[in-house]
Point group: C2
Chain length 200, copies 2
């Protein structure tokens, strides 16, 4: 094979490993990813898997990054096609609520928060950065709705982002423990009330 073909094949194998690891981690958490099980699932040796990732932690970090990218593509990308303002903020919320429904048997990111929130290290830092970025993206969309004159000028974008986050967390938990449809309806009511309270 040419060098180019070797690199492409290497990248494809790496993607395949991450894809399998992602599916495992959605249900069992990033700590549930075993290199042995993963090697078996993709038909490679353990050393073959390690050749693509220096360590189990590097693999976990790559899977977490992949999860963040998937979330961004599913939720943020469609929203940024909407006009700046309430339409975009609503699209973020709708996409997020749909994500919760579609990942009701396991959201890797929410699982990772619970796994690493009190365990210092590279994975903890990556989780903090991921949630921080998402909170900032949501606050930015709220700020645009303020700038567009659709939300009150004295609304606090970070506070709105915090409260939207809380509603999404309650939706996530209720979807998994109780009735998903009722959870969605309650989350919709909560967001509508929140945005209406700050609308001009």
């Amino acid at each position: 094979m040419s060098n180019q073909a070797t690199i492409s094949k290497g990248a494809a194998t790496r993607d395949l490993i991450i894809d399998h690891a992602y599916a495992i981690a959605c249900r069992a958490g990033l700590e549930g990813v075993s290199i042995g099980d993963l090697a078996h699932a993709v038909g490679m040796s353990k050393s073959g898997v390690f050749a693509h990732f220096g360590s189990r932690e590097d693999l976990q970090l790559a899977v977490l990054e992949y999860a963040g990218r998937r979330f961004g593509e599913a939720v943020l990308m469609p929203a940024v096609r909407k006009p700046r303002g309430l339409a975009r903020l609503r699209a973020i919320v709708d996409g997020w609520f749909d994500w919760v429904r579609e990942n009701q048997h396991g959201c890797l990111i929410m699982g990772a928060v619970s796994e690493y929130d009190s365990r210092p290290g590279a994975l903890h830092d990556a989780v903090v950065a991921l949630i921080q970025r998402w909170r900032t993206d949501t606050a930015r969309a709220a700020q645009m709705a303020i700038d567009a004159g659709e939300l009150h000028a004295d609304a606090d974008p970070q506070q709105l982002s915090f409260e939207i986050f809380g509603i999404a967390l309650a939706l996530h938990q209720d979807t998994r423990l109780f009735d998903p449809k009722q959870a969605r309806s309650r989350a919709e009511h909560a967001v509508q009330r929140l945005l209406a309270a700050h609308s001009r």
Copy 2:
């Protein structure tokens, strides 16, 4: 020893085991409780620990029940001494927020939700029952505030309970990932706005 003394000693040993297991599970989750480590910590043999609990799962269920009792004693008990109505609902929220602060390095109950929400079995059912009970207790306090004429008659107690839960979840997450004081301030603002919106 008399039979009575034997029973008391047995109960005291059982309490000691649960207390140690609770401390471990707050940080490592209920799945992080190993009978071997626990036996070592309390200075017993593994079979000695098993004599008090039929199985590891029975021990985990007992620890979860203990966590629920601790939460109830810390949050609900002081609140029921307040008059029915907004004062009691606020006391529940305040106690809950204090609980989050005091357990910022690990809340066994929140950890258990994440561990068992998609894993069918006795622990899953116990987690669902625990959260359901707490949601109902909160909704009941909201209903009393409606009955007392302090919240609007058309306020939905279950919806309020859902939204208060969301704020507490966001507080829990922010306390662990970001700045605990800022998180508390945001949660306070959110609850004040929520209750003010429904106040008469």
